[in-house]
């Protein structure tokens, strides 16, 4: 009885607060310390740049560091909901952290905008009206790569990914639309740094193409070792292993590698050049695809805030769903399961002056949607 009263009081106080100043509070949980901090920092900086450029001073952002630990992320989500009383959450980088946080916060009536990571469970059976993915479903880049490989006459591939759910998702995504043969399918240890054994297998393989998903330091290690090994098979992967922050560490060893992405800094989309220039001016480095996703998430939020009051959940949800903002990726819309409909491009790693970077070759998949929408009932 006593507790029920406390809860009612809390609700009343909350209503009072939001009535006094019609402002919106955003909770950002992202990785800012430790090994994976680069991605979280880019999402945060991109997001804050968009909010700043929107000129809205009624959006308050609370930022917390999840240290890439799921239990810390859950704890921070509790804090955001219980103490900070935020209206919208965003920021999580990793699939496993998203799986820990998203179902719980959407079940409590909060909105969650994913600036990175799209586990298949949240696109299919676990979809939710308050969950909007502004980045990609995990399979997307890989499906586009599989399609592209088939269309360009590649018959045999060697597949490689770490032995964990996102790795298996990525491999399944590639195989979904690939019509040729998979000669080998290798699962490596998560966090592995030496790929000599796998490279020897690649050299002995009959495959025409090596397709791999090895995020972060794993991809850097593999690419550097592959380049010096004498193996001559062409290499392809999703953009995560060839992003700007990573190319800087791989260097020329990555030249010529093809990779799929929904964004590139040279992409000819309205506003993209301005975004790249203003990001570089403000933070002194080139934006990564994570920064672009953070930026788009900020734009989406600002666009919805201009249309509806977050206190009116239905109206705000409808405003988000419209996706009425100019994405730096070009055309962007939400499908029925609130996941993106967008083009996926094929890029190639090239050298521009002294900088190793990506160049867009063409579209790998037009208006790509994820494969799980059919399982989503909402």
């Amino acid at each position: 009885m006593k507790f029920a009263k406390t809860l009612a009081l809390t609700a009343a106080l909350g209503a009072l607060a939001s009535g006094a100043a019609a402002e919106m509070k955003i909770g950002m949980i992202t990785t800012l310390s430790g090994g994976g901090a680069g991605l979280g920092i880019d999402v945060r900086d991109g997001f804050m740049l968009a909010i700043e450029q929107s000129g809205r001073d009624d959006i308050e952002v609370v930022i917390e560091d999840d240290q890439r630990k799921p239990d810390i992320a859950v704890q921070l989500a509790d804090k955001m909901v219980q103490s900070e009383k935020v209206d919208v959450l965003t920021g999580i980088i990793w699939s496993n952290l998203a799986m820990a946080v998203v179902p719980a916060v959407t079940a409590q009536g909060k909105f969650y905008l994913s600036p990175n990571a799209g586990p298949s469970a949240l696109a299919g059976k676990g979809c939710h009206p308050n969950y909007f993915n502004v980045s990609w479903q995990n399979d997307a880049f890989n499906e586009a790569a599989g399609t592209w490989a088939s269309e360009n006459g590649i018959g045999k591939v060697f597949l490689m990914a770490p032995n964990y759910p996102a790795g298996k998702d990525m491999i399944a995504g590639f195989k979904r639309f690939f019509k040729g043969d998979v000669t080998e399918e290798v699962y490596t240890k998560l966090g592995q740094t030496d790929y000599a054994a796998e490279i020897a297998q690649i050299k002995a393989s009959e495959a025409d193409l090596v397709y791999y998903f090895l995020p972060g330091g794993m991809g850097i290690s593999f690419m550097k070792q592959y380049a010096g090994s004498g193996a001559e098979k062409s290499v392809m992967g999703p953009a995560f292993s060839f992003d700007q922050g990573i190319l800087g560490a791989i260097g020329e060893a990555a030249l010529g590698v093809k990779n799929t992405s929904h964004w590139s800094k040279d992409l000819d989309a309205p506003g993209n050049a301005d975004f790249v220039a203003s990001f570089q001016e403000k933070y002194g480095r080139l934006p990564s695809l994570y920064a672009a996703q953070g930026f788009d998430t900020g734009l989406l939020l600002a666009s919805a805030a201009g249309k509806a009051d977050v206190a009116d959940a239905d109206a705000f949800r409808a405003a988000l769903k419209e996706a009425d903002f100019q994405s730096v990726r070009g055309d962007f819309a939400f499908g029925a399961n609130n996941h993106p409909i967008q083009n996926i491009y094929m890029r190639e790693v090239v050298k521009e002056g002294d900088v190793v970077t990506n160049k867009v070759l063409g579209v790998a998949a037009t208006d790509h949607t994820d494969a799980y929408g059919g399982d989503c009932k909402m």
Binding site: I41, E64, K69, I72, S83, S95, P165, A166, L190
Partner: protein
């Protein structure tokens, strides 16, 4: 000696009072997150109390207690996962259904962790010193990598449980009620620790740490004493794992990570090795630091590291040792 013990006793009472008053204050001040934070501290303290039985009384520095923490967590995760998807855990040779009932989950968590502790102890206790530290670490890593690739239960993504499990007569979704439950279990574990320490078993175990020859001379087997201590220790840490999973409504392989094993040891050292309330003080301080320092700067690990370093270099016998003087049991 009596005076010193009294001082430690007073300190313990103060900590106990804090554990009761702080959440009540948070309830009054409408700061539900403080209660969540306090629950986290209490559950981690419980895990460390478990470890303190092996480490404090028995001198067994286990860098693999995350194994039991993780087993407890997965016991909760697996049972609740099957209950929420209406499937059975196994069909053959007999049907086991999932459950959302906390007492049953706790029982399973405790028994399975105890069994794992028995097997690991049987193999590990043949070694001692640094070798023991490292072999327990090895078992921890085995479980960690196994959990990452165990795709039926989410692999690295872990398992989300959407609603907290239930306890008869309580609404566990209300933070203060769940906190009360965890605190009660912690107090029970502390009572068990205190009773163990004074029992003939505890005295023999302590003697086996200091002078194993003499224990052997009176006809006791140090190996057996240690094995029993390790099993009790693992069981309590396993129970804490189940509560931790319920607190987060989520389990993942990070519960098996060596960093977690390390943190449990850190709690005990910060608070004071073999002190009844050492793990409690250590866990509470660590959780508070993690929370407050995280808001200060992106590079807050530097401050945390510096503080830990100062505690080791200048704080003899942990925080309790600093305030209450040297205890009677440990040097």
């Amino acid at each position: 000696m009596t005076r010193r013990l009294t001082r430690e006793g007073l300190l313990n009472l103060a900590v106990l009072a804090g554990l009761v008053i702080l959440p009540l204050w948070a309830l009054w001040a409408d700061e539900p997150f403080t209660i969540t934070l306090a629950t986290r501290a209490v559950v981690l303290a419980l895990a460390a109390v478990g470890l303190n039985i092996a480490l404090g009384i028995g001198g067994l520095v286990s860098l693999g207690h995350a194994v039991f923490f993780g087993i407890g967590g997965y016991a909760m995760g697996i049972l609740a996962h099957h209950a929420q998807t209406y499937t059975s855990v196994m069909e053959w040779p007999f049907v086991i259904e999932g459950t959302k009932n906390m007492p049953i989950i706790w029982l399973v968590a405790t028994v399975v962790s105890a069994f794992a502790a028995f097997l690991i102890g049987l193999l590990s206790l043949r070694t001692s010193g640094v070798y023991f530290i490292m072999i327990t670490l090895a078992f921890g890593q085995m479980f960690f990598y196994f959990a990452i690739s165990w795709s039926e239960y989410g692999g690295e993504d872990g398992l989300s449980i959407y609603v907290r499990n239930s306890f008869p007569g309580l609404n566990t979704l209300v933070p203060i009620q769940f906190y009360g439950l965890c605190l009660a279990i912690l107090l029970a574990a502390l009572a068990l620790y205190s009773a163990l320490m004074r029992s003939p078993f505890g005295l023999a175990l302590n003697a086996a740490r200091q002078v194993p020859e003499r224990v052997r001379a009176v006809g006791l087997d140090p190996f057996r004493l240690r094995l029993v201590a390790f099993v009790i220790s693992g069981a309590i840490t396993g129970l804490a794992g189940a509560l931790f999973a319920d607190l987060n409504r989520f389990v993942s392989p990070t519960m098996f990570s060596w960093q977690l094993s390390g943190e449990l040891i850190v709690f005990i050292i910060i608070g004071g090795v073999a002190r009844l309330f050492g793990p409690v003080v250590g866990a509470a301080l660590f959780v508070a630091l993690e929370h407050w320092l995280g808001g200060l700067s992106d590079y807050w690990h530097i401050y945390l590291g510096a503080l830990l370093l100062l505690i080791v270099l200048f704080g003899r016998g942990g925080l309790i040792g600093m305030f209450a003087g040297r205890g009677k049991i440990h040097d």
